[in-house]
Amino acid sequence: MTVATKERKLTIARAMAEAIAQEMRIDDKVFVMGEDVGPLGGVFGNTRGLHDEFGSLRVRDTPISETAFMGAAVGAASDGMRPIVELMFVDFFGVCFDAIYNLMAKNTYFSGGETPVPVVLMTSTGGGYSDAGQHSQCLHATFAHLPGMKVVAPSNAYDAKGLMTAAIRDNNPVIFMFHKALQGMGWLGTEKDAIVHVPEEAYEVPIGKAAIVREGSDVTLVGITSGVHHSLKAARTLAERGISAEVLDLRSLVPLDRDTVLASVRKTGRLIVVDEDYQSYGMSAEIISSVVEQGVVLKAAPQRVAYPDIPIPFTPVMEQWALPNADKIIAAFEKMTNG
């Protein structure tokens, strides 16, 4: 007898909201606050339906006062609550970073572990839709660089739900970065591969574990959020040329699953990192140095396909030129094999 499995495709936005709702049903300490997270359901749809079900005490629209409500999330978490707080665009971290990196990230350490800070900070990343340099950044490395925060960044709805569930249940601060172009909001363009089957029941995707999303033997492509989808497209093109690319979805930036990256690169001997964050001083450098310092024997120098070190320009001809894409990954591979 075969059991028919019904496909239940969700966007990342809906998967996030579903994970939050399920945790709010079983734990009355979980609540949501941020700008426009209430009746509007979040500018990026990830709190849709929560206000209807849980009301305005547990799904709280805040004033446009990120410093106040980030600090309040820390205080509420240390007093036994489990806040999920939204920073609408990651670019807005500049107005409230003290509450994030000096309080949220350090209070556990300063209290010798006696005052945990179980906050989930969810924030949108990424560009590609001409929102220019204050609303299009990724800033993965900015958050990953500072100790005391876990950082996750899913590329599809299945991981988004599982990582959100794991983040809410974690006793540490977790930064949950979701890429706008993967969110499934039509008006931001939609990456169809991000909309995948999502089980209805609650489940966790472990924080700190990368996924091998395509197996291969000739080159390892390590992607973060949008970079995973660019990598998958590049892998399909390379396959037509008889080249077998392995694609890793990092999923967690902190803790970083170096073991999975190392195992893959030991197998393929080639590494390309694809990151929409700024190229210099970033995750791409961290991943490459993690491989190099382990003495992995490489067939070619590692490459990175990342954002140039410029503020993100507005006009589409400039922005699209600067963004990572599959063609740039293929060009990087050709450079490695022709050199």
């Binding site: 820390v74 007093d79 209290s111």
Partner: protein, 328 residues
């Protein structure tokens, strides 16, 4: 709401403990730092912000609080921590960087956390305010007893966090009281040259909450006003803002030559030291005698001396313990 004799004696006792604690720290801090002053040397390295003179703010407010109430303090936290009931042995050991310290030496004097009495502080100006508001939100959402009090300096009233948190606390009618310890100086910059208005309690009007100003660094007056504000918060009627005129009898930090003070200012402040004033009040109103006083002083000194002995005798942590407690 006048303090009872017992409450006055409690305040006096904690002022004495706090003052003697700071005087002891001041002496020990200089060990290893003479003739050349090097902040990294001696049994207590790092910055040291002493609270001598500001004790009335701490005791007048904390006399109304229980261990379950939440307090956040500043980079100058010792007097408030002592009044809130923070474990004195472990706090002292923390200041000495010892394994038995509150965080095992990870935080130091500007990052005192004692979960048992819901006390924490931050070395960043005005950044205790958000956590206090969040703790108050937690109590309100859980329908749980308890208020939060955020201590801050007058300089913090010019920070964005001050205005954002006052607004948020008022919009959500949270059980929180904001207490400004106005010692007139932000390091070397005077309040009059940094602040557009004379008194920060006036800023409460902008956020629709009661504002109170308490002149004279008077613990009895602080007790009365703080009591009203805290009771109001406990009744669910929302936040209040209090500014207390207080005196910083020490420098901003140890090593501060205080050349920015007008001539004679320090002498005038010492003449208004709140501790002898409260003692005189106790003598005049409550028959407090010199032998009562000698006995209490001896007890307070013994308490502090024991904490310092505990800190001195405690072992340092193993260096590699630095890698622990980043996550739990």
């Amino acid at each position: 709401m006048k303090p009872s004799k017992e409450q006055q004696l409690w305040m006096y006792e904690h002022m004495l403990i706090s003052r003697y604690f700071e005087e002891s720290i001041e002496t020990i801090y200089m060990e290893g730092k003479t003739p050349a002053f090097n902040m990294a040397k001696g049994p207590i390295p790092g910055e040291m912000h002493l609270s001598n003179g500001q004790e009335p703010c701490a005791v007048g407010v904390c006399a109304h609080l229980t261990p379950s109430d939440v307090v956040t303090s500043t980079h100058r936290p010792h007097h408030v921590a002592i009044a809130k009931g923070v474990d004195l042995d472990r706090m002292t050991a923390e200041i000495f960087g010892k394994k038995t310290g509150l965080s095992g030496g990870r935080g130091g004097h500007m990052h005192i956390f004692d979960a048992a009495v819901n006390f924490s502080c931050s070395g960043i100006i005005a950044q205790g305010m958000g956590p206090a508001v969040g703790a108050a939100l937690s109590r309100q959402m859980q329908n749980k007893d308890g208020v939060a009090v955020a201590f801050l300096g007058e300089g913090a009233a010019n920070q964005g966090a001050f205005h954002e948190t006052l607004n948020l606390a008022a919009v959500w009618k949270l059980p929180v009281v904001f207490v400004i310890e106005d010692n007139a100086w932000g390091i070397s910059v005077s309040k009059s040259s940094s602040t557009a208005i004379e008194r920060n309690d006036q800023r409460a009007a902008a956020y629709g909450m009661p504002g109170h100003f308490i002149p004279g660094n008077d613990p009895l007056a602080v007790f009365e006003v703080a009591g009203q504000a805290i009771e109001r918060a406990r009744r669910g009627e929302g936040p209040s803002l209090i500014e207390i005129e207080t005196y910083r009898l020490a420098g901003h930090f140890m090593g501060d030559a205080e050349g920015y003070r007008p001539e004679g200012e320090k002498d005038a402040l010492f003449a208004k030291d709140p501790i002898p004033k409260l003692r005189a009040h106790l003598e005049a109103q409550h028959g407090w005698t010199s032998s009562d006083d000698a006995a209490l002083v001896a007890r307070c000194h013994a308490r502090v001396d024991a904490a310092i002995a505990f800190a001195r005798e405690s072992a340092f942590p193993a260096p590699e313990e630095a890698l622990e407690k980043v996550f739990v």
